[in-house]
Structure formats: C-alpha cells, structure tokens
C-alpha cells in the first residue's frame, strides 16, 4: 500500500499535514488532514480574572483576534448579566464589521483569486497575488491594499491596535469614537463598498463567464450535502455580530433555532487520536464518521453556511448579490464548497455596508460607553460570527469573578470534519491508478482553501505559492516519487 504525505501545509499555521493512503490498485483508501497544534487555552485561562479573557483569548488567533475579543466580551456581558449601552453595542458591531470585511478581502485576493482569476491549471509560478495583479491590473491591486489599510485603521481607532484589540468590557467598551474618527471610519466603509463592487464584478467577469470555472464550482469534486449553522437576526437575515443560531438540514429545512446560551444542547465534539483538533457535530443527529448526508451530524459554518441558513442580507447591495448567487447555483441550500469564495465576497460587501450604516448613526459618537455590572458573575456565553464561522466562548467563575471553567468552540473546529471530507473527496476524485497527475496538488489545496481555515495565517500570503509537497511511498515506506509545486 502506498502513502502520500503533504507536509507542511503552511496555511494551517505552518503545522498542517495531509496523509493519503492508497490501496493495492492505486485508488485512494483514506485521507487525513491532521492539525498538530495545541496550546491549551481552555486550561490555562482557569484562575484568571474573567475580565482579562477578551485580551487573553484574542491570542488564540492573531488573524482573527477581533472575533475572539468580541466573543469574550459578549461572554462577559452574559457572565455579569449586564447589557452593553446602545452605543457600545453599535461600536462593537462596527468593529466586527470592519474586521470581517478586511479579512474576507485579504483571503479572496491573496488566497482565492490566484485559483480563479489566474486559474487552477496555469503554471504555479503565476498562481499567486502577483499573477492576480498582472491579470486585473495594478490599480485594482493597490485598491485592495488601500482598502485593507483603511479598515485596519478603523480597528486601531476602536480597539487600540488591530492585533490584538483591547477595548472590550462587560457592559460596554473602554473608548468612544470622536466625530473626526467617525468620519474616517465612514469613509473607509464607503471605500470598502466601492472596492467590493469592483471585486464582485471581477468575479462575475472572470469566473462566472468561464465555463471551466463554473463547472468546477458546480461539479461534484467539491460538493458535500451537510447541515449548516450560522447567526440570523429576527427576520432570518444574516447577522455577523448578534442573534440566534440557526441550523438547516441538507434539504434546507430548519433543523434548529436557538439562543447561543443553549449551544450545549446542540453541539458535541468528537476526538481522534491522530489530531490535536476536536471535530464538532450535531448532538442529536450523532457522530457517524467523516461522512455527509442527513443522517450524519457533520455541519458546516462560515460564509456559504451563513448565507444558506438565512433568508437574505440586511443591506441592499449585498442582498442583490445574494439573489444573483442563488439564482446561478440553482437555489438553496448550495452545497458547493468552492462557492464559499463567492459567499465571502457577498459578506464583505454586507460588512462594508454595515460599516457605513453604523458610522452614520448619530449614536455612534455617544459617550455612554459602559453600564457598570452590579450582579455577581457566575456563568456566561458569548457568540459572534468570525470570518471563518460561528465562534463560541463559554466562561464560568467563582464569586470573585475568577475563571473556573472555559469552553471554546472555535470557528474552524465546526468545519473540521467537513474539511477532512473535502480533502478526501478531492483526493479520491483526482488520484487514479496511483497516478498523481499535474495540477493535482493545487486541486487538493483548493478543497480546503475554500474554507479559509482559521489557522490560515496564510491570509497574509505574499508573492509565492502555498508550498505543498507530496511524497509517494510504497508499502515498504520507501520514497518512490516526489512532487512539489511552486516556484522553481
């Protein structure tokens, strides 16, 4: 039996590894995506003052520290049973919106676009951000950099620094927004809306008008019929900061709708001895292994999942794009993994529109920033939608407000099982008779890249190619073939 190793997959925090086992006839038997990374936040947060957790847990991920900071801050609200002031709630949502927009666009431009705008089959040397800029022109390239820069400035204004923010308090935020800062934020949002329009047009021109790409997006290699979970508002529209969690089944019917505090009634985690990751599934459907379908508790989160569980977007431009996407994909839910890229752009548009709306709200410059807690802390749950999916922080404390228990369901963990399945399905579809055809590596990469895995500090990918190496071993573990792609 042969073994194929893809190691390292640097976009998984430098520590991802794919192992593929072939049977006697050279067909893929099993494939595994391993996450050999663990730091143990659930343990070492114990004993810390609860109010420090938004600043400690933001160090889980320096790519999405804003999401952890805000989930932690909302958990503190619930812990002390204190509502944030109206202004503080808006400032927090504004912060989350600016963050999601910049992070989504970074992922699209640096990670997604090379596969689509440049092409999955072009020489690897061109399949990077420079190739994207070559194709779309320097002007668009510099617009993307400018948009990110401006939105990161918004994060600095509100949270002190983009990595890692510092402003969250139970019942509010530590710092307000001045009129001058408000104008800067509004203008960053408006610029973001403009650039999202450019990128959505680009996506339409380059991807949707190219049959080869459309076939890839809608084809079977990158498709899984799973449950989906995401946050919706009272009208069942996508909300990235607050609302109920809604789950739909693979046919699109509502399976559950619940307050974040009830997450334990719906979500369970499954361990595997070969990974430091824990794999989430729906408790009552049950863990049936790495398989899809209505009988398997595997569900997905993040952009496409959020759009699937909702009935629309709360802002006009994003809503128009939402309708266009589902018309093209043939209705809801869309099970096409590569459509995560499209949904990501639509969410970026929504997030920029929200930045404009919130920064135009007269209350955003209010100095009513915090409601001081008066209740004894006990237990709290905080949930936000991070760029890569639903993020749950759950804290318990003693009567001094020192942490006794922490549970964290991190965005990519929700997608963990599905990412494994997607890699395996792509490998099974592409590797035949033990042959490892040219272009295979990138096609396998595309299977998990669509999810933008959270350890994807890879979103800062610079000129260069995601380094993948495939080693083919015979049944004596001798290396018989080595393939790599990237710049030679």
């Amino acid at each position: 039996m042969k073994k194929i190793t893809i190691d390292p997959i640097t976009r998984l925090e430098g520590h991802g590894k794919i192992e593929i086992f072939l049977d006697q006839s050279g067909e893929v038997n099993q494939a595994y995506l391993q996450i050999p990374e663990l730091r143990g936040f659930e343990k070492f947060c114990e004993g810390r003052p609860a109010e420090e957790l938004p600043r400690i847990t933001s160090r889980i991920c320096g790519v999405c520290p804003t999401a952890h900071h805000l989930a932690g801050t909302k958990a503190l609200d619930d812990l002390f049973k204190v509502q944030p002031t109206f202004a503080a709630a808006k400032i927090r949502e504004l912060m989350n919106s600016a963050f999601i927009a910049e992070d989504h666009i970074l992922h699209f431009a640096f990670l997604g676009a090379p596969d689509f705008v440049v092409g999955p089959q072009v020489p690897a040397a061109d399949r990077n951000i420079l190739g994207v800029i070559d194709k779309v022109g320097k002007e668009v390239g510099s617009q993307i950099i400018e948009m990110r820069k401006q939105l990161r400035q918004v994060l600095k204004i509100i949270g002190g620094k983009p990595v890692c923010p510092t402003c969250g308090l139970p019942g509010g935020v530590s710092k307000g927004i001045s009129e001058e800062e408000r104008k800067t934020i509004q203008s960053a949002g408006e610029y973001g809306v403009e650039i999202c329009s450019v990128l959505l047009k680009l996506f339409e021109d380059v991807v949707l008008k190219n049959q080869e790409y459309v076939d890839l997006v809608t084809g079977d290699i990158y498709k899984h019929q799973t449950y989906y979970m995401g946050t919706v508002d009272n009208n069942n529209l996508v909300n990235l900061y607050d609302g109920d969690l809604r789950v739909i089944d693979p046919l699109g019917n509502q399976y559950a709708r619940f307050r974040p505090q009830a997450y334990q009634d719906y979500i369970r985690e499954h361990p595997e001895p070969w990974s430091y990751m824990r794999f989430c599934y729906l408790k009552d459907v049950g863990w049936k292994g790495f398989v899809d379908g209505i009988d398997s508790g595997v569900y997905r989160v993040a952009p496409l999942a959020r759009l699937n569980v909702a009935e629309g977007m709360a802002t006009p431009k994003a809503q128009a794009e939402y309708e266009k996407m589902y018309n093209t994909l043939g209705g809801k839910p869309a099970h096409n993994t590569l459509a995560f890229h499209w949904a990501r752009l639509i969410e970026a548009m929504y997030a920029c529109e929200r930045v404009v709306e919130l920064s135009s709200d007269p209350e955003i410059t209010s100095e009513e920033l915090v409601n001081l807690p008066t209740n004894n802390p006990q237990e709290g749950v905080g949930v936000v939608e991070a760029p890569r999916g639903t993020l749950i922080h759950h804290y318990q404390t003693d009567n001094k407000g020192l942490i006794t228990n922490v549970n964290l369901i991190v965005a990519t963990q929700n997608n963990g099982a599905a990412i494994n399945m997607s890699v395996e399905k792509a490998a099974k579809s592409l590797i035949k008779d033990g042959e490892v055809p040219e272009g295979l590596l990138n096609m396998i990469e595309m299977a998990f890249r669509a999810y933008d895995p959270c350890h994807a500090c890879a979103t800062h990918s610079l000129p260069g190619q995601m380094p993948l190496e495939i080693n083919v071993y015979n049944n004596k573990q001798d290396l018989v073939k080595k393939l790599r792609h990237g710049r030679e």
């Binding site: 343990k43 950099i145 990161r152 308090l169 530590s174 549970n407 800062h460 990918s461 610079l462």
Partner: protein
C-alpha cells in the same frame, strides 16, 4: 553583491506576528527588494529541506516568533540557529513565553484532560487523547510531541537580539531590519526597542501624582475608567512602570491598562516581581502608619490572581518559570 538571506519562522504562536509584518504595507515590498527571503512558510515555497541544504551561517538573520511548545518547534529552532549568523526572538512568545506560557501553571496531562475529556461538549467515553503514533488502515499517522513546559526561544537556542511586543509594532520591525541591514549591530542580547519604561512615555503621564496611594484595588469593570487619568491613581493595576516602552501606548490610548507584553526594562530580569513590588509599595501608602494589619492583608488579597496578572506574558522567562512538576 548578493542580497543578505533572511528567514521568518513561527513556533507556538497565533499568526499575529505574521499579520504585523504584513502591516508594514508598502514598506514590506522594499524589504522584499533589499533581502533574499529564503524561508517563510506562510508566504514562500521553501521547505525545511531547503534550509537544511544551506551552509551553516548562510542565513544573515532568522526572525523566529512563537514559544517552544512542541517537539517540531524545538527542532526547527535548532536548525535555523545552525544556519543563521543572527537569530532574533520576534514577539512576546519567543522573547518571554507570552500568553501560551501561562500553560506553565499546568502540565501536559492537566491540559489534555481538560481539552479532550472534561470540556462540557466533549463526547469521549473512551478517553481518547492525541497520540504520537496512531496505526490506521495501511500505515501510521504521527503527531509531534506536546511538552509539559513552554520554553522561550533563548531557553532553546542562543539568541542574538529580541524584538518585543504582542505583536511587535511595524515601526520597530522596520528599525530592526534597517539596523541589521546597515551592519551597525548593537551589543549582542540587546532588546531592539526604547529603554524607557512605558510610564515615562504614557499619554496620561502628567496626571500621575508624585506619590500614588492605592486605598483599594479596582478591577477594570468596577470603575468608569477615566481616559485622562493614570490607571494606578484610579486603583487599577497597570504594568506601565515595570514595562518597556515602544508599543506606541496602544492599549492606554484605547483607555485600557498595560498588561506588560513588551517585557521588563533594561537591567530587570524579573518583570513580574518588579511589577508586584511596585504595586505592593503603593498599597495604602498614605495611611501606612495607621493601617491595621488585618486590613493591610485584605488590601493585598484584593489583588486577584497576582501570578497570572504580573507574569501574564513572562512566566516561562521568569525565575518561577513553571508550576513544580
């Protein structure tokens, strides 16, 4: 002339140190022009093998972020040390252990039990934990070892310079790169940041009275934080006096107290002890003579979690280092 070779690597970290490098924005393109980046897993297609193939000392400088938590990270640190003329510990985790270093209050077994067995959403009746070797159909899957103790980079390999912060701010990164490229190297072991304490550069420094007396410790959520006023004078613990400056006072400017990510000032080994002493010396200072002993003890007890507070970013680098095994 050949461009100097530069490597970037990450160990037990969060990716924030990579984000802050990308936050150099246009300056990053200048850096990419001036040097030859030979290893940067996040961005470039070079492998461990490519590093192994370099001559010893061929890399001019390696910037290594993250603490040393797993076997694989230790191996990479040794490899890069061997191949590099200079090694810079980049960011709090590499410099002092950082937030992941708080895990030194526990050991591997406690962490595994919590993460894989005890958390309320875990369904693990068989008590499965990650294994170094797992037999599967057709072969074996392996994982790198998770150590009991988080180490700093300089507890693992010798380090030439330190770039502090969680994360290091872009301006200090540019300064460090320019300093190294210009060849005017400071004394080995230098922390590449200003030498003053944060307190000396604090935007609300003028509000700090000559003598602060803390009658009651306040948690940040217990008071309406006054953005114009010294935190210690409000009774809120701030690490400013015991922490090096250079961060741009970003947390203070967002109206939150310093937590010490830049580490101690020059000449101080133990940031936590220095901060603890500082705060303890301010407790009831103006009523010291008349304060009954039991009230003095209450005042001290009102500092909750002193170890986690004062050693938040520096536990592995401290003399305490870890809980006894």
């Amino acid at each position: 002339m050949a461009k100097p070779k530069v490597a970037f690597y990450w160990c037990a970290s969060c990716g924030g140190c990579e984000e802050t490098v990308v936050d150099l924005n246009h300056d990053l393109l200048g850096v990419a022009d001036a040097v030859d980046i030979v290893f940067w897993p996040v961005a470039m297609d070079f492998k461990r093998k490519d590093v192994e193939n370099l001559q010893d000392g061929e890399i001019a400088v390696s910037f290594i972020n993250g603490a040393i938590r797993l076997e694989e990270q230790e191996e990479m640190a040794h490899l890069l040390r061997k191949k590099s003329e200079l090694v810079v510990a980049f960011g709090s985790c590499s410099h002092m252990g950082g937030i992941p270093g708080l895990a030194n209050f526990h050991d591997k077994e406690e962490i595994f039990n919590r993460v894989f067995k005890e958390v309320p959403t875990m369904d693990n009746p068989q008590g499965i934990t990650p294994q170094l070797h797992t037999p599967v159909e057709g072969g074996e899957l392996t994982l790198p070892e998770f150590y009991d103790t988080v180490k700093t980079l300089d507890q693992t390999v010798s380090v030439d310079y330190y770039l502090p912060g969680c994360p290091p701010p872009p301006d200090l990164i540019m300064n460090a790169i320019n300093t190294i490229l210009s060849g005017t190297l400071p004394v080995r072991g230098t922390v590449l940041a200003p030498t003053k304490a944060l307190c000396d550069t604090c935007p609300v420094r003028d509000s700090k009275p000559d003598k602060i007396s803390i009658r009651q410790i306040k948690r940040p959520w217990e008071v309406r934080l006054d953005p114009e006023k010294c935190f210690l004078d409000q009774g809120v613990i701030c690490m400013g006096p015991a922490t090096r400056s250079g961060c741009g006072e970003t947390c203070i400017r967002a109206n939150m107290p310093c937590r010490g990510c830049f580490g101690p000032v020059d000449g101080v080994i133990e940031q936590g002890a220095s901060a603890l002493t500082m705060v303890a010396s301010l407790l009831g200072l103006d009523i010291e003579e008349t304060l009954p002993e039991d009230q003095e003890k209450d005042l001290l007890d009102s500092i909750v979690d002193p170890a986690g507070t004062f050693y938040k970013f520096s536990l592995p680098a401290s003399l305490l280092r870890r809980k006894r095994l």
